[in-house]
Amino acid sequence: MARYGMVIDTKKCVGCADCVVACKTENNVPDGYCRDWIVEDVRGAFPDLHMEIRSERCNHCENAPCVRCCPTGASYTDEDYGVVLVDKDLCTGCKACIASCPYDARYVHPEGYVDKCTFCMHRVREGLDPACVAVCPTKCMYFGDLDDANSEVSKLIRSRPNHALIPEAGTKPKIFYLL
């Protein structure tokens, strides 16, 4: 099993939200919902300020609480790519997975099933990057196999300081933000 993940360079990201729009059109995300979003994280006081801009989405956690708590097996980890997906035919819309996600990455699709970022598996299976990665004007996003030591993502994680979101929640997130 590969372990696909993402690396996002916060130094380059300008928070334009192109990833958000691209995701919405690529995946036909209904109005009012989104699978990814932009966070501006500002620390300090005027004029000594620091800002980290992050494109956030489902972290496709290795220890995914959404998969664990799903009563029907609708939420599962894809065996080939290590990506967390939802099988809408199994989903009852009980929302346990939504409650379990520390990143608030899931929502109930108006059609009744729970929906979220798929890492654009329909594209990845064809050898393409996820839509957000492919569209990013600043090229600040990288997608690849974290288990492959030669992948761009692995190299970046090794060579540059980075952090993941809320690692203390114990979910082992697979999106890494370069500082």
Binding site: K11, K12, D18, C34, P47, L49, A134
Partner: protein, 743 residues
């Protein structure tokens, strides 16, 4: 039903439908717009069932080339064209959200004519033929009574070219775009005066290879000018030094090694002080300055007084920071860019302020050098041959005989002023064609704009959306979106000469039509058919393309064509340094300015600071919206539905404001904004407030945008006009807060 009224009322309804109207179906030759499936032929598709059509984005002026994708006959997405150096295959969020422009159900659907029904002015839905008849009759009358020169065109966007052509054929040269006097006019004039060439769009800044980027209020990343931001991010990623001068901790400021939170209105003091340091410490490129520039001694003499210690109390930037940043700029020369900015109409001395930055670029030798300013290439495609236009006898300039001598383009606000009759003005405008620009949100002093409109015999608005300007129009013509039409070839300056094609991906929705069709049909109605010899736009494009050995079929397959022949980009690569200035050199001291009685070297001018309890109103861009044009786009509104007013934390405490609370802003003249939410933040100085431009729409027909956030334009009730070229400085308004509960 009648047609006479003394005053144009702002009509807020979408149009009264009267029975028995033929909605112009017969005018439109459907076969000229192929169905989606036909368009698919030959185009590659990555996902089964998907087809793609080449386009050029129209959401802003950057004009990125891309592909419109449809899946199972339904609009799907828009992506960048990899072959386009102006997008590198990656669009910005607005371009990616362009499908929303097509999908927006609030679009104008059919021509509307202002009529008086039951004593009330209202729009009546009309056929295209009826609308054209009304316009043509009025234009004929104006030409007879006042001369065709008394009709002006305000334009923004690629479809404007057909109406420019139409107006010239009609006999008027009064064509204007708010992008000049309300935006980048001072910049173009400043660079023209200094280097003999403007900066142009897309900017010729070689950010890609820059080592040091100095931004004076330019919030790259928030103004999402695609490839410029791409290059900025690349440069930042490669470790370029960013020096960001901004009263606000912008996105760009967060990428900066040096953020200089300057007191608004004092940028020129900082720039002059930098020049002072660069000359005093001999940090400039001596060889370059000696070889290519004129007026160095005069410059040196003039800036002697602008020491960092002098600038400190004015700008609040500490002297050692000024010195340190000047040295940093010099360390990286010539790959240092003092960015010329884009929207630079701030304080009325804008040409001089931008010139000060241009002078630093000259001193550091970055003009014509890698990492500085390159010499752009432009694809040359011969123009379509038209009969000669009639020669106008008057122009907008006649209204201002002694003013703005160095304005090279018509002033949008000037035409607006000249429309209001005054005893001393010779040409009062009687008719306006307004294409794709919402003047109520674009021109400062909107009350004046409305007053001008009251003096018109004819106002025609051609637009995609029911923007506020359409509510004042006599005739509204619905143009289809850029995804539903052909337009002229895109030929932009850049490192590589290319052309790009926009082809229709979908049939025009409702009863909307492409701009070329509207201009042509109206032209024919006006008896100007000899100026429209082509039958449809495919014929026009084929003719132009054939002159460079291309076909429409080929362009439909690849979208972008790159030309082989090109000039070197930099002096070091063999570009011949030539400067189209009076001295033939880079003019550090401008002889032209001197000859008109202006300062040859920029001189610091003091600007009024806000009185106690008031804050300078700053405005800017969000990456997800273009001006006031996209704030109803369903995809983009989902990302940003309204703007907020940024208020410094201390100021908020002083006024008892809480985060997310709604307030009304009131300016120095008592102008009031619509309700806007407060963003309490550390990211802005205590003497200013900030909001993103383009919100606070008052036209109910824009359902998603109506009354969402506030419109900065309404609060810009005074301007400081640049005496050199007539630009309207708009950052001279001060506002205070009023709790939104009270009205």
């Amino acid at each position: 039903m009648g047609n006479s009224f003394s005053r144009r009322e702002f009509i807020k309804i979408s149009g009264l439908s009267l029975g028995g109207l033929s909605l112009g179906a017969g005018f439109y030759n459907k076969s000229s717009v192929p169905q989606i499936k036909e368009i698919a032929k030959g185009a590659g598709a990555s996902i089964s069932g998907a087809v793609k059509t080449p386009t050029v984005c129209e959401i802003c002026f950057w004009q990125c080339a891309g592909w419109v994708h449809a899946k199972n006959g339904e609009p799907w997405k828009i992506t960048g064209n990899d072959a386009d150096p102006n997008s590198n295959g990656r669009l910005c969020p607005r371009g990616t959200g362009g499908i929303g422009a097509y999908l927006d159900e609030d679009r104008l659907r059919t021509p509307l004519i202002r009529k008086v029904v039951d004593g009330k002015q209202t729009f009546v839905e009309a056929s295209w033929d009826e609308a054209f008849t009304v316009i043509a009759d009025k234009l004929k009358k104006i030409a007879e009574e006042h001369g065709p020169e008394c009709v002006a065109l305000f334009t923004h966007g690629s479809g404007g070219s057909y109406f420019k052509h139409l107006l010239r054929a009609y006999g008027s040269n009064n064509i204007t775009a708010p992008s000049y006097a309300q935006c980048r006019g001072p910049r173009e004039e400043a660079y023209l005066l200094t280097f003999g060439e403007g900066v142009g769009s897309p900017e010729r800044t070689d950010i890609r290879d820059a080592k040091c980027i100095v931004l004076i209020g330019s919030h790259l990343g928030e103004n999402m000018h695609n490839t410029q931001v791409q290059e900025f991010a690349d440069a930042v990623g490669q470790g370029a030094t960013v020096i960001c001068v901004d009263p606000r901790f912008s996105t760009a400021a967060s990428k900066a090694k040096h953020w200089l939170p300057i007191r608004p209105g004092t940028d020129l003091a900082l720039l002059l002080s930098w020049i002072h340091v660069i000359i005093k410490e001999k940090l400039y490129d001596e060889e370059y300055v000696a070889k290519y520039t004129a007026g160095f001694e005069e410059l040196k003499r003039e800036v002697a007084k602008y020491t960092p210690e002098w600038a400190y109390p004015i700008t609040t930037i500490k002297p050692h920071v000024i010195v340190e940043t000047a040295r940093e700029m010099a360390r990286h020369r010539p790959s240092t860019i003092v960015h010329p900015g884009r929207h630079v109409t701030w304080y009325g001395d804008d040409t001089q302020r931008v010139r000060a930055g241009a002078i630093i670029n000259a001193l550091l030798g970055s003009w014509g050098r890698r990492g500085g300013f390159y010499y752009p290439n432009k694809a040359s495609v011969p123009k379509y041959k038209y009969p000669k236009y009639p020669t106008p006898t008057k122009s907008w300039r006649d209204a201002f005989p002694d003013l703005y001598p160095l304005a090279n383009l018509a002033l949008a606000n000037g035409i607006c002023d000249a429309t209001i009759p005054k005893a001393d003005k010779s040409c009062a405008f009687k008719g306006w064609l307004v294409y794709g620009t919402n003047l109520l949100h674009t021109l400062p002093e909107p009350k004046k704009t409305v007053e001008a409109i009251q003096n018109l015999d004819l106002l025609v608005a051609i637009d995609l959306m029911p923007a506020e300007i359409t509510g004042y129009a006599d005739v509204v013509l619905p143009e289809c979106s850029y995804l539903e039409r052909y337009d002229d070839l895109r030929a932009l300056p850049g490192r590589v000469p290319t052309i790009a094609l926009r082809a229709p991906a979908f049939e025009p929705k409702y009863n909307s039509k492409p701009g070329w069709w509207i201009a042509r049909e109206l032209g024919i109605k006006m008896g100007l058919e000899k100026y429209f010899p082509w039958k449809n736009f495919e014929e026009y494009l084929e003719t132009r393309l054939s002159k460079v050995g291309l076909t429409l079929e080929e362009m439909r397959k690849k979208g972008v064509h790159e030309f082989e022949d090109r000039y070197p980009l930099y002096f070091e690569e063999g570009m011949q340094p030539e400067f189209d200035t009076p001295s033939g050199k880079i003019e550090l001291a401008s002889s032209l300015l001197a000859s008109y009685g202006f300062d040859a070297v920029p001189r610091y001018t003091h600007h009024e600071q806000p009185p106690e309890g008031y804050y300078r109103l700053l405005y800017g861009r969000a990456p997800t919206h273009t001006f006031a044009r996209t704030t109803n786009n369903p995809l983009l509104t989902d990302l940003m539905a309204e703007n907020e007013v940024w208020v410094n934390k201390t100021v908020a405490r002083l006024h008892g404001l809480k985060n997310n609370q709604s307030v009304v802003l009131v300016n120095q003249d008592g102008e009031r904004s619509t309700k806007i939410k407060v963003k309490v933040t550390e990211r802005i100085r205590h003497d200013s407030v900030y909001m993103v431009h383009g919100f606070g729409h008052t036209d109910k027909r824009l359902k998603r945008a109506y009354m969402r956030g506030a419109d900065d334009t309404k609060l810009i009730s005074r301007v400081k006009v640049d005496p050199i070229m007539g630009g309207t400085g708009m950052r001279v308004n001060f506002v205070t807060f009023e709790s939104a509960g009270v009205s």
